[in-house]
């Protein structure tokens, strides 16, 4: 076969693959929860047995701790976050007009600390921020993820989607390959899930530690031997935006338990 045939073959096969490529429909959405054993599901659901609750409790303490100017998060958001609009929590990342970019929940928390408590800002994904995020998301447990990407967030969503489908690393893999095309299949010992973000920050049975969403993405990048993007970078924030909106309709599970 000569070169032209080879090219023709590639074109036809790419068209076929696009035609058959999996696009997630709302009814097919499967949280990582559905791949857990019943015993682990039970552990996640039981607040006393769920080891991720330790981080949530740390976050609760942090939430009520006095800032430099003698205010706490609760000054604005009520004791135990009673004034939070939980539907709004479930809609993060949201567009921030002042910064003209998406704001993740962690960025919003960090912004509040700096702006209203006069605290020194935290480094993205540091333990305190992950615990605060876990606490706030846990308050919204059961709320359905609902990110609105029709307005100003649209271009950031498109960028995130592009990254999700782009191949990286020595293994030349893309998120979409594992989590769209092959979700449900076994990768040696591990079953691939749809790679949703509704359980983060979550507790990992393997490491015995809390993992943030950016931390999990870093692991996935390393698994196919790609140089990860920095935590809190525009790239990971756009990916976070894409992941959350892709999982619109799934209930928030924080703190989820995963392997």
């Amino acid at each position: 076969m000569n070169m032209i045939n080879h090219k023709q073959f590639l074109i036809v096969s790419s068209m076929l693959s696009i035609f058959f490529s999996n696009v997630l429909h709302a009814s097919d959405l499967k949280s990582g929860y559905e791949y857990l054993t019943p015993a682990t599901q039970e552990m996640q659901d039981d607040e006393f047995a769920n080891p991720g609750m330790t981080a949530v409790e740390e976050g609760r303490t942090e939430f009520h701790r006095l800032g430099v100017n003698d205010k706490t998060c609760a000054t604005c958001h009520g004791e135990n976050g009673s004034k939070f609009n939980l539907k709004k929590i479930a809609s993060y990342p949201v567009y921030n007009k002042e910064y003209e970019k998406p704001f993740t929940l962690q960025e919003q928390i960090n912004f509040c600390g700096e702006e209203y408590l006069d605290n020194v800002p935290y480094v993205y994904d540091c333990t305190d921020l992950v615990e605060l995020e876990a606490y706030v998301r846990h308050l919204a447990r059961g709320e359905k993820v609902n990110v609105n990407i029709t307005g100003a967030l649209k271009p950031f969503y498109e960028k995130g989607k592009k990254l999700y489908n782009k191949r990286f690393g020595q293994m030349n893999m893309a998120c979409a390959v594992c989590h769209d095309q092959f979700a449900g299949q076994r990768l040696r010992g591990q079953v691939l899930s749809q790679g949703h973000s509704n359980g983060f920050p979550l507790y990992r049975l393997g490491s015995g530690k809390m993992t943030s969403l950016h931390g999990r993405m870093e692991e996935c990048f390393r698994s196919f031997r790609a140089e990860p993007f920095d935590r809190g970078s525009d790239e990971l924030i756009n990916l976070e935006l894409y992941l959350h909106s892709r999982g619109n309709g799934l209930p928030i599970e924080t703190p989820a338990i995963r392997y």
Binding site: M1, H6, L10, S13, S14, S17, S21, K166, R167, F168, G169, Q170, M171, N172, M173, V177, C178, Q181, F182, Q185, R186, L187, R188, G189, L192, F221, R222, F224, R225, A226, E227
Partner: protein, 156 residues
């Protein structure tokens, strides 16, 4: 005094010789031998190496090397988890010839650009944002890839 200096010089010479050979070794390891596709196959052995089936069998199991079991099931009963992402490779040598298998292991993405299967002897220049530890290298060396291919040829 004289004695210690000459000892130091000897040490320096030996040390630099050692580090030069270590360097050239690590360069040799990183060499990529280009290959070409004819009729959906790579006819010539990669880098001219001859494979060894027993070594190949170990590489397909090894999680840091081929880790083919991540995606394929193989007649390797002592390993408990075989992947279901790719087709089983039992009897692969009666379906494909050696050159066809070589292309599929070296760079399946040349046949199916949407495949999940990594190219194990893909031109490293075609990769993007590679982790520093793996930069400039294919996943397997030419020798290792030939070992794997030779192992697959035993699966009739």
């Amino acid at each position: 005094m004289q004695f210690t200096i000459s000892k130091q010089i000897v040490f320096v010479i030996v040390f630099s010789l050692l580090s030069i050979s270590a360097l050239s070794l690590s360069f040799a390891e990183q060499i990529f031998y280009p290959w070409k596709i004819e009729n959906y196959a790579i006819k010539e052995p990669l880098g001219g190496f001859t494979g060894n089936a027993q070594r190949g069998r170990k590489i397909v199991i090894n999680q840091d090397k081929g880790n083919c079991l991540a995606c394929h099931s193989l007649p390797i009963p002592e390993e408990s988890f075989h992947g279901t992402v790719g087709p089983p490779l039992h009897g692969i040598a009666s379906r494909l010839n050696k050159g066809q298998i070589r292309l599929r292991v070296a760079d399946e993405q040349k046949i199916n650009p949407f495949t999940i299967m990594p190219g194990f002897y893909k031109n490293p220049k075609e990769n993007n944002r590679v982790d520093d530890n793996f930069w400039g290298k294919p996943v397997l060396t030419a020798q290792e890839t030939e070992d794997v291919i030779t192992y697959l040829m035993t699966l009739k």
